[in-house]
Amino acid sequence: MAALPTDSGWWPAAGARFFCTAGRGLEPFLMREVRARLAATQVEYISGKVFFTTCSDLNMLKKLKSAERLFLLIKKQFPLNVSSVSKGKIFNEMQRLVNDDPESWLSAISIWKNLLELDAKEDKLSQRDANPLKRKVEENDIINPKKLKTKQMQELQESRECQLEKQMEEATVEQGDFLTNREKSQEAFQNDVVKAVAAPNQKDLTFRVSCRCSGSMAKTFTAQEVGRVIGIALKKQFGWKADLRNPNLEIFIHLNDIYSVVGIPVFRVPLASRAYIKTAGLRSTIAWAMASLAEIKDIMFLSIRCPLARTETWLSTEHSASSVDLSRDHGPGGAGALVLDPMCGLGTILLEAAKEWPDVYYVGADVSDSQLLGACDNLKAAGLQDKIELLKVSVIELPLPSESVDIIISDIPFGKKFKLGKDIKNILQEMERVLHVGGTIVLLLSEDHHRRLQDCEPGGIPRNSKGSHTDEPGIEKCLNPGGKTDLSDTVSSSAETGGQGDLDKMPPFGSLVPVDHYRVSLGRTGAFICRYRKSPSSGR
């Protein structure tokens, strides 16, 4: 493996290999995201994990929005054979995970250290320009404002504010992070860095093993047993000490029927739990996925070195012959686009969208005072109160001119009181009214609502033949040996059953044409992310 020497070790020339866990149904979004955000290569989705290679540093990795957790890969190999073999033999196989190729462990750990050290350096640089409020967490090399006279303080504040304004969004996010309640986790992260740097010799590492067994592995072994076996093997092989409470290094192992995977969690806190969201409503990963599907674009997004900017839509197939459509930045979805969430609740969708695409005009509406107050709190905690307007109005009576909104994204409340019938119909009609022609609507619908909407479509072919993945929607894609496990498969498969026919069928709601839909897991229940576009003809 070609490698480049750095001062503290070796860095693989092609980048390091990682994997992420993702909620079911979000894997295609994650695959797209790592390609776009991290220029990732060798992207594959296998049984609940997305594997990829990238040269990105922790700052960029931290920005992943559709992943649950991120790990540096130590090894991935064939599943352990549990059938008709003695437990002892299988334990031996587990030990071989450690002993067969200790180099792979050491080089992964060296990469991990490099990542943390690089991040610590960058952190120090950005903290010199930091807002004095951050003083609480950092050292004493920042000027103590108390010693300055008031006027000087003002000037200092002003110049710092100017600096802040000039900094890239990344650095600003760092500041924002520190100003929220997540300081503890940031401190924990700093500790990680301190520890990694302070353990120059690998022999001084302390570690802890977390194990997960699923499938037939789970029937034979407990996670504790496996953890113990691996732990002992690691101690023997490398001389590390176990520390269950506050280790330098965490090792994560997942054994199932499809693979054995070992990795190092890169961050203490899951990516899915956002530093900038005070009270989560909808799951942040799903909120972001919905926003990404809505094709909100601001000027920055289009001009970025993002390979996906070349295709017309965020999730369209790479094979489409679309050329760069620069007029997009003036049409719906460009900077100055008006994005509305007419049932915003605590504002999670708007928060995720505004963080990613800030140069856009966001409006949230809800009828509940308590929700709006919560949303207001959230906006303030995230520093986004200037970007997002909140209104107490009803979705079935929006005080907005017709065709004034470019994009609508909303989580339609589940539950019995929103039966499909007059309510949903009124909601969709009002959304359709305020939406520009060519505008996009992305909704999160319960399985119930989605099924009924499909049945409503005249022409009657239930699109369920591809939509009825009750279990693993991605499984078919992931077992595709060609490795082309991207969204184009999902899109074209629903096109087969409904797509061609779509043009002939009358759209279910006036001029709203269904574009695509994705089944996602919300924990115990499932739901559908559905995208519609308003077509020029209104057929009623």
Partner: protein, 104 residues
């Protein structure tokens, strides 16, 4: 709310003359809230502005330096854009959560 939003909401009522906007503003309820200037964003908002409503609002709130309408080449006119930025995004009216009575 921002004056931009007020403007959008005012435009909803069709056929109502400059005196009949349902969203009446009180001169006492004005705050100025500094917002980072983004010329591209402001430029793209200009086509959405309902000027009659905006001028009426500016009048009620005794705002000064409000452009009377879009000028030619406004996209590159920083002075114009900064004035519009101030009027649309930095002037805040009323409580932050607007409770609106049905129009009409």
């Amino acid at each position: 709310m921002k004056l931009l939003t007020h403007n959008l909401l005012s435009s909803h009522v069709r056929g109502v003359g400059p005196r009949g906007f349902p969203l009446r503003l009180q001169a006492t309820e004005v705050r100025i809230n500094p917002v980072e200037f983004n010329p591209d964003f402001v430029a793209r908002m200009i086509p959405k502005v309902e000027w009659a409503a905006l001028l009426e609002a500016a009048d009620t709130l005794h705002l000064v330096e409000v452009p009377k309408g879009p000028i030619e080449g406004y996209e590159h006119d920083e002075k114009f854009l900064r004035q519009m930025h101030h009027v649309l995004l930095e002037v805040r009216t009323g409580p932050s959560l607007a409770s609106l009575a049905t129009a009409g």
